[in-house]
Amino acid sequence: MINVNIDGKEIQIVEETTIVRAAESAGIWVPTLCYSELFEPYGVCRICSVEVIRGKRSRIVTACNYPLRDNGTKILTNSPRIQTIRKMIMELLLSRWPNVQIIKDIAEAVGVKEPRIKCLERDEDPNACILCGNCVNICKDVVKANVLSFENRGIKREISLPFDEKSDECIVCGACAHVCPTGHIKIKTLGYERGALQDWYLGPKTAINIPTLQAVPRVPIINEEACIKMQTGGCGICSTYCEPEAINYDAKDEEVEIEVGQILLTTGYQTIDLKQMPQYGYGRLDNVYSSLEFEHMLNSTGPTGGTILCKDGSVPRAVGIIHCIGSRDENFHKYCSRVCCMYALKFAHLVKDRTPAEVYQFYIDMRAFGKGYEEFYKRLLDEGVNMIRGKVAEISEGYLTNGEKPFLMVKCEDTLIGKFREIPVDMVILCPAIEPQFDASNIKKIFSISQSPDKFFLERHPKLDPVSTMTDGVFIAGCAQGPKDIPDSVAQASAAAARILSLISLGEVAVDPIKAEVADEYCSGCRICNSLCPYTAISFEEEKKVSFINDMLCKGCGTCVSACPSSAITGKGFTDKQILAELEGILSV
């Protein structure tokens, strides 16, 4: 600890403290422009110049990076000498960037109104780049992405992206925009390419977040794709701020082997990629949302706090809800997604409830099959929702000649009145088809189960055994089996759980005795059997160089027995010897 004197105030500070920090603790304001706590002081704006007096020697230094080392150092932050310097610097800056707010503010604070200097490089832009270098420093030293840099030197110095182009190295972390004091740097959303509502997606959008409000356990996680530390090795700020030192960047996903007796597959569904249908303008036109995005908007913890708003912040005058996007469609999925009609009706109800907007439902057939559903449909008709029976052909942008904001034009055929219609709305909600997960066929292979023609997992019997599969001990439930709503999913899952528990409660399970068996000493390791097994029960043991049969998977079909060229595989409990012995027994009577 050393004692220093700032503007007459005696304070005690730790050695090597910079003057800016010392002044802050003494409650004295020192103007700064290029200073940020996030990175090492750059010390280039020189506006924080102060006078340091040690003994008889007086020096001008920059407060942001001058480390105090000697007891009894005297600092003057506002001496006449400093005032002249600051004024002159501000005159220089103000003459070049007269409309930048932060410069105007500091200039006023140090007493500069109108610069006496004429500047040839004058830039009137209020968001002009003032070359403080914050963005370059954070990109280089903290983020370590090395995207932004200075170019040229002297008065021609500027900040730019390599070749003035969008850079592949940029991880769009936004740190540069965050530290820019003038708003010169903006993060631009690249429309179609990145998805119009990127920051509206359900799920994580920042590097550290709590996945959902209802998450259990409710702890933050790091999103590897968005985390600068994980991408470039830079940043790491969170670990410096986390007092219990709970952050571990080295934690990795790992594979764990668990031995289980039964498996329940509930891999769920995905919605169809709406960009396959460009006629609906998803990702291209503003205010065209998928149903999940709209659900997110309706959520009270969502981006709008539950109010229904267009992208420009206005309340929609009319909303179109379009059913069967990709469902019941020869080009995509022939089946009905089952849930859309009802949630579309719910949307219509909520829009009516929360806004004065007109609502249009574009449907092919209304399928309100569940308990109380038909009543809900009736109620909505009473609420005045416009029901249009017909498929939507195209959504396009429409403009009014009076310069009002553009709207969306929904073109469709109304099959009830037999006319082609164009309906202007401000917002469109698309109800995308439910489809199997993209990797469903992988899962199918792993568990040797089957898929129906629509690629959902196939149950053993649609009526008699709807939750088990052709593989013993493997069960399915929910949308993995086919589109269904929440009550149906819960019911099916409960059934599956009951089946599993009934087996567990048995304690011992009797298995079919007839299985194939490999005699290691005869097996040549030719692997012919491996690919032949319809139940993928045979695998190759690299160490022993022989094939191995998993008893649990083997159904004792005998395909491998007959195929084995060296007769190394026999049917356990069904050997030639046994059959001959049985024959002999019969004949001996």
């Binding site: 090395n146 840099s149 170019e151 040229n152 030197r153 992206l161 070749f163 850079s167 190295e169």
Partner: protein, 155 residues
């Protein structure tokens, strides 16, 4: 990216041990080879030496030695050191501008000549000094300029 530039970048990077600290020397070699820093080579060099493109460009635009644009066959440099200035280098520069019909820092459309100012070449005894390619001329006087250029007309 053509393999030729890639190989060149690789060769140069290896010559300097692929050490990012030697980036300036590597860039010197590229500048000597191509007479400027072509974009393709910069990008290949960045890959080879692990120096970010942004840094290479920063260096390239910071130092006078490098150019991102192709230069003329004959580089004409007018020394702008103090002794040359006191003895009329500015007039010589103007005469060259008139003669070549380009401004300082530009290249003639036929890529024959580039005209540049240069820092003191330390041949102050010969001030004012003009360097064409590798040849140094001094003292250069305004009436001599056309004669001087004629020597390079056919080269």
């Amino acid at each position: 990216m053509s393999s030729e530039t890639q190989n060149k970048a690789k060769e140069i990077s290896e010559k300097w041990d692929n050490n990012p600290e030697n980036i300036i020397e590597m860039m010197h070699d590229i500048q000597d080879e191509y007479k400027y820093l072509p974009r393709e080579v910069i990008e290949s060099l960045s890959n080879e030496s692990n120096v970010p493109v942004s840094k290479i460009l920063n260096i390239a635009t910071f130092y006078n030695a490098f150019s991102l644009k192709p230069k003329g066959k004959h580089k004409i440099c007018v020394c702008m050191g103090t002794p040359c200035h006191t003895l009329g280098a500015a007039r010589v520069a103007e005469a060259l501008e008139r003669e070549l019909k380009i401004k300082m820092g530009e290249t003639t459309p036929d890529l024959k000549y580039s005209l540049e100012e240069t820092r003191c070449l330390s041949a102050c005894g010969l001030a004012p000094v003009v360097v064409i390619g590798e040849d140094l001329y001094g003292p250069a006087t305004v009436p001599n300029i056309p004669k001087l250029l004629k020597k390079y007309e056919k080269k």
